[in-house]
């Protein structure tokens, strides 16, 4: 957070204390949302959020902000639908404008296999509470007339799934509103405070060591995005997480309004328009595991090439900015939330390339878990021990990269 925003958002900065009820490592969306829900839903405010840089400086301030619930497995549909609904109410609840805008997402099918996949997606979504329908090329044309249904002659559009409740919101504003909401109820936010070790007593985490000294708490939560393996190693646990860079870029201003979010599994890209009129484009993760934040040329080249086959108007725009985040990828493309084999230490990770949409529900559920000491039903399927129990939640097709 820069100095301008430090003044604009009503946050109070205090000196760190020695002990808290709960310490949350990581001031990204998930850490802040957990603090916010602890304070607003459970009246637990003796909480510190420790952020090594500035809040929202991780993936929560680098993503393409797609909010949607059109996932491929029942547990995920129910979970993300709850978040879609929480996002719809969040501006009113926090009294902060987040530029939340319902846009709808079209997920294109260019092959018979993907037609089946998109039809299945609509069925699973409908059965578990998310609104998704299968649409024909004619209907696609009504929703998004800019789409070249011949796919540049090479990737004809055979159909799509359409999920009208999909939305976007300004990521910084989401982070800041949650921070402010938590802070004004008494939650401490300490920026430039890095956790360098965990303090343990037997099989229990009792606090953290930071660059400002030790701090103690009954519960310590890790919410550090792509850097989770380091924290887990301090606790003495191993995770099925690999960190991969994900890049995105924006063009200059497109003078017309472009309403929906357009995605394609075959072509591996997705596009939406920002409030400033820029076209925001994302694609797949880099293939090498890496913590490198540098962006590369290869992505914009291949991705632009593919995006233009479906949306020819993009050809006339110029690329303005490109950036990278490092994502905590789980092997089944589902999140990992909850208790760990170490007492007093809980985690929220596996948010990979899809965790912005889950910020409200992830924080709500983790707050309940911390406050009650029990795993809420909604997130029970996403516990860390699912890998050992052979209960992975494979959902690669719909995790996409947004």
């Amino acid at each position: 957070m820069n100095e301008f925003m430090e003044k604009k958002v009503k946050l109070k900065w205090y000196e760190p204390k020695q002990t808290y009820d709960v310490i949350i490592i990581g001031g990204g969306g998930h850490g802040l949302s957990t603090a916010y829900h602890l304070a607003t839903r459970h009246d637990i405010t003796n909480v510190a959020v420790l952020e090594r840089k500035y809040i929202g400086g991780g993936n929560s301030g680098r993503n393409t902000t797609v909010i949607r619930a059109n996932y491929g497995i029942p547990e995920a549909v129910k979970f993300y639908q709850r978040s879609v609904e929480l996002y719809q109410r969040l501006e009113e609840e926090t009294d902060r404008w987040m530029m939340h805008k319902q846009k709808g997402i079209l997920w294109m099918a260019h092959t018979e296999a993907h037609v089946r996949q998109e039809k299945a997606r609509a069925e699973v979504n409908t059965a578990f509470g998310a609104k998704t329908i299968y649409v024909t090329p004619k209907e696609i044309n009504e929703i998004a007339p800019e789409v070249d249904l011949t796919g540049g002659g090479k990737w004809p559009v055979l159909g799509a799934s359409y999920h009208p409740e999909a939305a976007t919101a300004r990521h910084d504003r989401v982070n800041w509103a949650l921070a402010e909401g938590a802070n004004k109820r008494g939650v401490y936010i300490h920026q430039r405070t890095e956790v360098i070790d965990l303090l343990k007593e037997g099989n229990r985490v009792i606090g953290v060591m930071t660059n400002h000294g030790p701090m103690y708490a009954k519960t310590v939560m890790s919410a550090v995005g792509g850097h989770v393996t380091r924290i887990a190693r301090m606790a003495g646990i191993r995770l099925p997480i690999r960190t991969h860079p994900l890049q995105a870029y924006v063009t200059n201003h497109y003078e017309l309004e472009f309403d929906p979010i357009v995605a394609s599994t075959s072509l591996l890209f997705y596009v939406s328009q920002t409030a400033r009129g820029e076209m925001l484009i994302g694609a797949e993760i880099d293939r090498q595991p890496s913590y490198n934040y540098r962006a590369g040329h290869h992505l914009i080249q291949t991705c632009s090439f593919r995006a233009i086959t479906l949306l020819p108007f993009l050809r006339h725009l110029r690329i303005l900015r490109q950036w990278t985040g490092v994502c905590d990828m789980s092997p089944d493309y589902s999140p990992i939330m909850g208790f760990t084999p170490v007492e007093g230490f809980v985690i929220t990770t596996g948010w990979g390339t899809w965790g912005f949409k889950a910020i409200p529900v992830g924080g709500e559920q983790m707050a309940e878990l911390i406050a009650t000491g029990r795993t809420p039903d909604l997130i029970a399927p996403f516990a860390l021990d699912r890998f050992k129990k052979d209960r992975t939640k494979a959902d690669r097709g719909s995790a996409g990269t947004h």
């Binding site: 393996t229 995770l239 997480i241 960190t243 293939r287 090498q288 595991p289 913590y291 962006a295």
Partner: protein
């Protein structure tokens, strides 16, 4: 980020020609064979630093290349 992988057969080639292959290293402390299998299958070392890894030169000589790379800056340290 652009990386050049030093293929011993083809010379330095862009990473996009390769397929990544994990080289799992199960910690020695894990002794139970079942636990070792589980760790091998699911758990990741995911270091912020140097790791040994395999790359399949899919769009080249179609052989496996082993390198050491620093995951913080993507520098290839050696083979």
């Amino acid at each position: 980020m652009s990386i050049l992988i030093p293929c011993p057969h083809c010379g330095p080639r862009p990473v996009e020609e390769f397929v990544y292959g994990e080289v799992p290293v199960v910690p020695e402390e894990i002794t139970d064979p079942e636990e070792r299998d589980f760790d091998f299958g699911f758990m990741r070392n995911n270091p912020e630093g140097v790791q040994r890894e395999a790359w399949f030169h899919a769009y080249g000589c179609r052989r496996w290349v082993y390198i050491e790379r620093d995951t913080v800056n993507d520098e290839v340290i050696g083979r």
